[in-house]
């Protein structure tokens, strides 16, 4: 039994005018348009930040204090230092705690209820809105004045950011450690290393790049956060006065100055955005490079 097909309609050549092929092209075009729309905001935001903020970059911007409302000139020197200080405090809390917690999840837990509980808790903590972290630190530390009777402090701001960084650090450590080949651990145990030595000398160093990538991304994210800082670190028009006083940060400066009705303040907000975006994008590209470097 052989079946013959009419040659004309069942040609093996691609026929672009068929209904299904036209539909295909239409959908491909639609997906292309959607991708363009998805990429457009990045280009527009970067463009405006570069143009509006870039033309204000000068030495004075980094060395001077912000001017009083309505006045011209000045810089964002204190906010730049403040962002570095607050992010550093957050990192110094979140990285040790997060890496330690990640080590427990990946190396010590045997999938019992506690580890399960910590994993789920970590996912829930990652989903806590950043403003809630700010309110929590306000209620627990600012309102109770535990830091030497001070209310708003740089330390409280750092703590609020640490709450936001912690889940990311734990998750990347946990996942980074799981990627280390089990043979390495077995080898170390086999030649008589204790668990402590195995983890600190073999497993953690082998997982360094994925953990570092995640940590850099978490720090970059924390540096741009505003909501947890507006009622923990507050703001200060002066140079930083230690860890237990209110401190200016760039993100809060952008927020405060963007909603002021004064032109010079709005311009400083753009300039601060420029500096902040450049810092954060540089950190992101660095993390990306680190990841690529590791995969080679």
């Amino acid at each position: 039994m052989t079946t013959t097909f009419p040659a004309s309609s069942k040609s093996l050549h691609f026929n672009p005018s068929l209904k299904r092929n036209r539909l295909d092209q239409f959908l491909t075009g639609l997906a292309g348009v959607f991708s363009t729309i998805a990429v457009l905001p990045l280009i527009l935001v970067l463009l405006y930040v570069l143009i509006q903020g870039g033309r204000l970059i000068s030495i004075g911007l980094f060395t001077q204090l912000p001017p009083a409302p309505g006045l011209d000139g000045g810089g964002i020197g204190n906010a730049l230092i403040g962002t570095v200080v607050v992010t550093l405090i957050a990192s110094m809390i979140a990285i040790p705690v997060g890496v330690g917690g990640g080590v427990y999840l990946a190396e010590y837990s045997s999938g019992g209820w506690f580890a399960q509980f910590i994993r789920v808790g970590n996912d829930i903590l990652a989903g806590v809105p950043s403003i809630i972290a700010g309110i929590f630190v306000y209620g627990a530390i600012v309102a109770t004045r535990v830091f030497f009777g001070q209310s708003y402090t740089a330390a409280a701001g750092g703590l609020a950011l640490a709450v936001l960084m912690l889940p990311t650090v734990i998750k990347t450590t946990d996942e980074g450690l799981k990627l280390v080949p089990r043979e390495l651990t077995w080898g170390a145990i086999g030649v008589g290393a204790s668990k402590f030595v195995t983890v600190t000398r073999i497993t953690l160093p082998s997982a360094f790049t994925p953990i570092a990538t995640g940590v850099v991304l978490a720090i970059a994210r924390a540096a741009g956060e505003t909501a947890p800082l507006i009622f923990t670190a507050l703001f200060s028009p002066f140079w930083p006065e230690g860890l237990f006083n209110p401190i200016a940060t760039m993100s809060v400066l952008i927020f405060n100055f963007a909603i002021m009705p004064f032109e010079p303040q709005n311009e400083l907000a753009w300039a601060a955005s420029f500096v902040l975006v450049v810092m954060i994008l540089a950190a992101n590209l660095f993390a990306r490079w680190l990841r690529r470097f590791a995969s080679k």
Binding site: S35, A38, L42, Q52, P129, T226, A258
Partner: protein
């Protein structure tokens, strides 16, 4: 015949006590550090609930259904903010899901050269890195003035609908929705991309093998196989959108007067907190914390639903 092996080769040497102490100590240390997650979470719950108790006792459930927010008379109802939170985040997702999933398909399904796919992927990821306060600044000075004529057109043409029955006057719900779209797009795109990349290649080959066109394969084989992770990712970004604070605060107008109109200023729980918490005292603090409890309940239930969907609805292929 058999010579005894040298004594020291097979001696079982016990590890010194100090060694075991370090070993056990390190293990206990990691347990303590891991429990910080639980402690923090618990402390957040307790702090917020504790502060909200007064308002809960005073206003009860009418807090959720009434919309007068009057610090002078100490009368508080959060309906406007709850409505704003839900409407802004859901509307943002309605716009962002097709865009994000479409982009994910565009950069995973071999429609354009690999190089371009990577470039688009990197750009979408970088968009996620831009701080929300910078997006808010951009929204105030660039995006909102730009879209105002379009919103004015919507008011002129469709003003008889309750959703467009007020003239656009700058900050409002509509610009807030657009900025939320910008913020959740990268999340939806990257989760959908991961989901599509995990679909086994055999499924694609099978679909092409029986003669389906590219988009028939995508729409009826590949997308259904990835749908559970995509829906889970969408839920996660819904949680993110509901809790998003800064950009929304800067552009939504922060008005507690209830209005159906998307062109009018509105409020969300998060922006209300950002605006008033610093200056509030007395019952107002408690009322704000009550609103924070509602926000937490909303985001938690959405996040848990997301985890559940990812776990339970995954297609077995």
């Amino acid at each position: 015949m058999t010579s005894a092996p040298p004594e020291d080769l097979f001696t079982l040497r016990r590890r010194p006590a100090s060694d075991r102490l370090v070993d056990g100590g390190f293990r206990n240390l990691t347990i303590v550090l891991a429990s910080f997650v639980a402690i923090t979470l618990l402390a957040i719950f307790i702090t917020v609930f504790q502060g909200a108790r007064e308002a809960m006792r005073e206003f009860g459930l009418t807090f959720i259904t009434t919309s007068n927010w009057n610090p002078v008379d100490n009368e508080y109802g959060a309906f406007t903010a709850i409505y704003g939170t839900l409407v802004s985040s859901i509307m943002a997702l309605v716009i962002a899901v097709p865009l994000g999933v479409g982009t994910a398909i565009f950069i995973t399904e071999n429609l354009i050269p690999l190089r371009w796919r990577e470039v688009i992927g990197v750009m979408v990821e970088l968009l996620a890195a831009i701080p929300s306060v910078v997006l808010g600044l951009w929204a105030i000075f660039v995006m909102e003035p730009f879209i105002r004529p379009f919103l004015q057109f919507l008011y002129d043409a469709l003003g008889w609908l309750p959703f467009f029955n007020s003239p656009p006057q700058g900050p409002g719900m509509a610009p807030a929705i657009i900025i939320l779209v910008v913020m959740v797009l990268p999340i939806i795109t990257s989760i959908s991309r991961d989901a599509l990349n995990q679909v086994p290649n055999e499924l694609r080959q099978g679909a092409y093998g029986v003669g389906s066109t590219r988009w028939v394969a995508i729409l009826s084989v590949i997308l259904p196989a990835a749908v559970s992770s995509i829906v889970g990712g969408v839920m996660l970004s819904l949680g993110r959108a509901m809790g998003e604070t800064m950009a929304v605060t800067m552009i939504i107008g922060n008005s507690n007067n209830f209005s159906f109109s998307l062109l009018a200023p509105g409020n969300t729980i998060a922006s209300m907190l950002a605006n008033q918490f610093g200056e509030a005292d007395g019952v107002q603090v408690s009322a704000l914390l009550y609103a924070a409890v509602i926000l937490m309940v909303l985001t938690f239930s959405v996040n848990i639903a997301a985890q559940w969907i990812i776990k339970k609805l995954s297609l077995k292929y």
